[in-house]
Symmetry: C2
Subunit: 233 residues, 2 copies
């Protein structure tokens, strides 16, 4: 999870505040407070839900008193908004890098799905599950849903191109894209139950199943997988 949430802040460590009144419960900080808040909020939102998580719980988990939270996020909703943005950017950034690579659409499709599902499984807490919170549904957080639509369209284009390149079977492209888009979030909801399986194993299984179903020649799955994972991003 941390990786996804912190992506935009690789360099910001050490930004731990020196000025300001000391905390009531001092502790060693590894991240700036606004990042600590995001990490704890993500954990609480996915396990208890957005509305069922109080700002007090988030604050105490981040080592602060409840009103101090509002110094960093002026509304509770802004925390969820920030998390949604980070999750969307995490995948969108990868998708944009992938776009610049020259490779068959089927390989790119595999690689993008694998990246998305693997991220969802590898997070210690299933951050991607925040995408399924009823409180995050449209029309709330329109900026997130713009990114989501972009990603769905990207998947649709990859599927359509892979079909015209002869690698995938003809199928309902829009429906396929919509269901592929939900793959990472839905895998995140159960991946933590599967003890003993690595994120790589789960993502490989899930994405492999999708592509085997879509491939014109299912026996090509193994070579497609190798080709996809060999792409230099």
């Amino acid at each position: 999870m941390s990786a996804i949430i912190e992506r935009a802040n690789g360099q910001t460590h050490g930004k731990v505040p020196k000025v300001g009144r000391p905390r009531a419960n001092p502790r060693q900080l590894e991240r700036p407070p606004e990042e600590e808040i995001l990490v704890e909020a993500a954990r609480l939102f996915t396990s208890k839900g957005f509305s069922a998580t109080s700002t007090r719980e988030i604050a105490e988990a981040a080592g602060l008193r409840q009103p101090s939270l509002f110094h960093y996020y002026p509304k509770k909703e802004r925390i969820l908004e920030t998390l949604l943005r980070r999750v969307a950017e995490w995948t969108l950034d990868f998708a944009e890098q992938l776009d610049r690579v020259d490779a068959p659409a089927s390989a790119k499709l595999y690689r993008l799905l694998y990246f998305d599902v693997h991220s969802a499984c590898a997070s210690p807490h299933p951050v991607h599950a925040i995408l399924l919170l009823p409180e995050a549904r449209p029309p709330a957080f329109p900026a997130y849903w713009v990114s989501d639509r972009r990603l769905t369209e990207l998947l649709r284009d990859l599927v359509a191109r892979a079909i015209s390149e002869g690698d995938l079977r003809a199928t309902d492209v829009a429906l396929t894209a919509r269901s592929l888009r939900s793959l990472a979030a839905s895998t995140a909801t159960w991946a933590t139950d599967c003890e003993g399986r690595s994120p790589e194993a789960i993502a490989g299984h899930v994405v492999g199943k999708e592509l085997r179903a879509l491939l014109e020649d299912p026996d090509r799955l193994d070579s497609l997988r190798q080709q996809a994972l060999a792409l230099k991003i």
Copy 2:
């Protein structure tokens, strides 16, 4: 949705109360109040979330004042508990009938998945999405999770038998069962976005994709589908 929620109450219509103080806002009732409450609660829980839905909203939607709700459900949680039980029973009952039919495991697997996903898509509101509410996660509602485990084990057995019968490819059976179990709920989250597609089309697409991926011979999908839908339940 109504079908799933009301399954246990086919005969109970007309149980509209004649005794008791009249309502402040009288209206024509089609269902007994406890059923009206379930239908409205299901709609509100899936669209706004459990904690974000107040007992006042549910009550007013059902034509009652807020405290009157507690005549039927002594705690707000009991409403969600009842919904979870109905959704679980809906699929479990079908699975038990299916169990008594003599047919190849692959056909039964297709039929069970189709039933589950089709129910999820056919509901005017995605009731199955309540299974994804963070508030419904274990360890809350242990009775529901017992049913859920039963269903996952049933899927696992069907997959294992279909493999030993030679219809499905060898694969990680537990992982496959777990991901198949999440199919209906996850489809419910996006099926309503797909205007112009019938529940049959969506369920056929989604379940077809799963089975094509699992089949030893993908070309057998069409005949498997016919065989599955022809089963007399």
